[in-house]
Symmetry: C3
Subunit: 211 residues, 3 copies
């Protein structure tokens, strides 16, 4: 796909995660402007930094390119000044997280494929890119990461990354393939959130209390 | 030592840590198949990834080589489907952790030595490789890492790595030297667990309640 | 500035953070000599390791150079044997943390500038180097990182790094410029601690209870 389209997908994902991370910070106690913007930026840029460690593509693109830094900082600042209104719409956190997850799953996988890594590695890197920022966010705020605890979180990222890698192998490129794979991930994630769908639990586990 | 033997030691360590991480996940609440397999894989592959960052040997070997991925995923899946029986044998978690610790201490140190790093660096990297995966496991599940809190955890890894580096310097190579160093680490760790041995506490500290 | 002066600043910062991390470990329960020294070393060397990942300057300098390892280990051991006296001076933890923060903000920024990175990247890397070790310390001991929760922590680091980068751009080099920028950061941090100054909180936030 065109580099420009890929960049746009990546920046939109960065913005979504910055809003999400900053909103998460708002809900914590006594976080000031630095805490809100910092958590937004780490959530937005962390997945890409981990991706670039795995791809031996250091220094991280998200750190070298001012556009990522500006978009991530803007997202944090917007939430700081206007987020106490958005916060009432608790759903915003989930939607933005799903958007970042979807976009990073496909852009991470495509970056790996573009660098010549194999399909399995591209799928894994896409998934790591997608869940990495949120995992840092959760670790820094003292919560069990979504990727471990919550229903369908890594699974949609894995499906989105797999879809875009298969499309790439079949020669189907361009914004439509990428957007379709991201949309697939997004829908699965939101359906999972809405209906509280979970991946299978171990055989013999007691039923969840609120299931 | 022969590369094949080193690979086998490394894969066995990977498998042990995957079982250990997945069993740890099983004991947490409501972790589904993704959480169990993910925590198994992070525990199994995380130490090697941190090692390769320190050795500037990116992309991480555990991520490029399908055998590591397959072994780690298998360990997680086995625990998911059969672990609720194993879980009764609580001791299994400790034994598997000690096995992974021992094998990674020696293979991590040998990888560093093989890349031309000095003895001190090789010992440090061996120790980091050994404790890295378990530290990620503990941070992600919200516990104080074993390496900080629990009696004799880093010490046996340090001894095992030192032993194999000294053997290497003396020209003693091969599976017996490696296996001996790993066994030394394993025995010290298990003795520490069994008798609740701790490293010295600061002078003037109040005695531990259950000591 | 002269490489020697930069090295000395860096080693003093390493020592300050090692003392700080080890004192933090002392206050935790049942940490033995390994836990105290390990947390001291991670606090002291972690920021530099993260810096070198961002600068693609692996293996980390703090790991290759025995002087960093020796200084960090010494700080941990001194606290282990003598820290229970120092611990009464609770203030020591804050002062040492501010010292490490200040020195690493300027040395981190200068290392980035020296490698040819732009001013924005140098400032960001200086800040990350300054707050990185303390963030690892807080995550490993299960606390919300200072960089997120506490008044004026990242801000003085950002100011110190900016000051030294501006000085560098103006051609003002040498220990006085570096020392001045570090002192600026230190004073702002200590004033913030003393008067419990905080960065602005989100509009509409309830007033802090103890503010």
């Amino acid at each position: 796909m065109a580099t420009t389209a890929l960049l746009i997908f990546d920046l939109v994902g960065t913005f979504a995660f910055a809003l999400n991370g900053a909103l998460t910070a708002l809900r914590a106690t006594r976080l000031d402007i630095v805490g809100v913007v910092t958590l937004g930026m780490i959530t937005a840029l962390g997945g890409g930094a981990i991706r670039d460690i795995f791809l031996d593509s250091l220094p991280p693109a998200t750190f070298l390119d001012w556009r990522y830094l500006a978009v991530a900082a803007s997202g944090g600042l917007i939430v700081f000044f206007a987020g106490h209104r958005l916060e009432r719409i608790n759903r915003a956190i989930n939607v933005l997280d799903a958007a970042g997850l979807s976009l990073f799953a496909v852009t991470g996988a495509l970056k790996a494929a573009g660098l010549g890594f194999g399909p399995a590695q591209a799928i894994i890197v896409g998934t790591i890119t997608a869940v990495g920022g949120g995992t840092l966010r959760d670790v820094l705020t003292g919560r069990v990461p979504s990727v471990l605890s919550s229903g369908l979180y890594a699974v949609p990222a894995l499906i989105g990354a797999t879809a875009v890698v298969i499309a790439e192998l079949l020669g189907i490129r361009g914004p439509i393939a990428t957007g379709g794979a991201a949309a697939l991930c997004f829908v699965i994630r939101m359906v999972g959130v809405h209906f509280d769908v979970n991946a299978p639990v171990p055989p013999g586990s007691p039923p969840a209390k609120d299931g």
